[in-house]
Symmetry: C2
Subunit: 359 residues, 2 copies
Amino acid sequence: MRIENLYVVIMAGGIGSRFWPYSRNAKPKQFIDVLGVGKTLLQMTYDRFKNLASEDNIYVVSNQQYGNIIKDQIEGISDHQVLLEPTRRNTAPCIAYAAYKIRKKDPNAVIVVSPADHAIFGETEYLNCISKAVQSTVESDKLITLGIQPTRPETGYGYIQFFESDEQVKKVKTFTEKPQLDLAKTFLASGDFVWNAGIFIWSVESIINAFEAHLSEVAELFAEGSDHYFTDSESDFIKTAYSHSKNISIDYGIMEKAENVYVVLGDFGWSDLGSWNSLYDIKDKDQDENVVTGNNALFYGSKNNLVHSNPKKVVLVQDLDGYLIADFDDVLVICKKDEEAKFREFVADVKQKKGDNYL
Amino acid sequence: MRIENLYVVIMAGGIGSRFWPYSRNAKPKQFIDVLGVGKTLLQMTYDRFKNLASEDNIYVVSNQQYGNIIKDQIEGISDHQVLLEPTRRNTAPCIAYAAYKIRKKDPNAVIVVSPADHAIFGETEYLNCISKAVQSTVESDKLITLGIQPTRPETGYGYIQFFESDEQVKKVKTFTEKPQLDLAKTFLASGDFVWNAGIFIWSVESIINAFEAHLSEVAELFAEGSDHYFTDSESDFIKTAYSHSKNISIDYGIMEKAENVYVVLGDFGWSDLGSWNSLYDIKDKDQDENVVTGNNALFYGSKNNLVHSNPKKVVLVQDLDGYLIADFDDVLVICKKDEEAKFREFVADVKQKKGDNYL
């Protein structure tokens, strides 16, 4: 069921090269079909939110270079729903831009902010969590984040510690950036830490109050835009505003400072899809723990591998254990699946030796 | 310098899948640029013989399905120079067909018979060997084969044992098919065994005499064609002749039986290109013994590998030792480079599971 006054802001500005060679600077992962389901991550995110919000109320924020891709991928989205950033300023300015713009249209709006490039498996449970949080923000000035029940001592995610209570909406105690493994194990054992999925729910009034309190320069910058939002001058105004804006994340700028921050716990199956290995983790495996995003691989004496290629291409693999085989147009990568630091070095090396065209 | 009365018969009928996925049923290895030099193996063979023989005297024998490929690859070749076999009958009928046809045109012809799909590195030395052999056949009825100085106890080649002498053209003692490793080592140590390259030199009269003596049914079959060769009825005649012909190799049918068989030793750098490993053996290697037929691979912690792909494609390889990485259109193969028996099983498995289209 759709909730009135509900607005969605999908953040789709990432340029992650962690799914290279599939994700490219010209087409980052949110715009590709990472899961092999026939829809891009952006399309899946947009479709998911159509269950809760009117299509007119779903906004996408991204860098201006991706404007056309977004309009291609979301049929019928209007220009004013696509918020294009002239430069990258991290999440706080992006969220401020969307909040001030939405307030002009609807001062009673409740906003869900979500990345475009994650994977959600239990959609019903996920939408229930969002609904619970939305309900709570209607009655209060709570800034709510979703916390994912952790299943392993993951060092690639941020953690949220909360005050145990019987309430469905629990007060947040601390935010912790990506921890070392020992600390992650402690978090997992303690039971009062959850993963920070970067999904936020708040009323437009609450988040604007928070900007005014904690990031007042950013608040001032985007408040000045109220004459321009939804007009022909919005784009010019935003160019100037972004050139003056701080570069700061919403976590660091607001969530870690504000007192009225709460968490709704979710156990709906989530991945930030932050690496090839994370894709391997969430996909079905054959009897030898191989994953193929297609049905096109033949394995001989091989286990624990991830093969990602054109599904029409036969991929024959002998005697490999724990490898990523990613074949895409002008790049073929055959490397250890779980050595993410090395993978980043390889990508940098390709950029240096072969040029930007391959990135 | 060109030798008058010299005719060349290039045998280009193989359907080898040993360079799969590059060599395909529709385009076997003689028609592809295996060495990455901008010419197919057939083109290289044809061009090499243009140094010795008039272009009009160079004939190509192959299966009829490859007629168009041959005409595409050899500019200006006339229809009567392309001998098309309706069915595969091994080398003896193929050589008989060419010999009887050539005799009709020139009863004094000397013929060089050569496969289309091998690699020759020392072209000058090679042509010298051929010239020596041609000279010898002009004065005698010798059936001459080229013997390659062996450099390793190769078990994939046939061997020729010869009677030591001061002559440049030495009498052959025995032919041995692919030996076991122990025997190959003995051959190498003995010094009087050389590799059988399947390159033959004889006068048309001598080879026809040999057919009459050792394969008289084949001789009769193709002798009957003298009214048809170089006419419109040649193709129909050949269809009938092949349907009645034995399936037998020239080695087994004639060379191992005749008394007048001789060998000219050559040391010109030769490979039968019988496997990916043989391609690896002959190519330049980087400091880690990797071979790339292009300049497009980036290796990390990897050695002894062979990468064969579109040269515009970046291929990134981590922690592999002794692998073949062959990327071609609709097939990607990542397997051990030197396990040729397994490779044949894989190809058979692909045929069974994915269908003929991938072969």
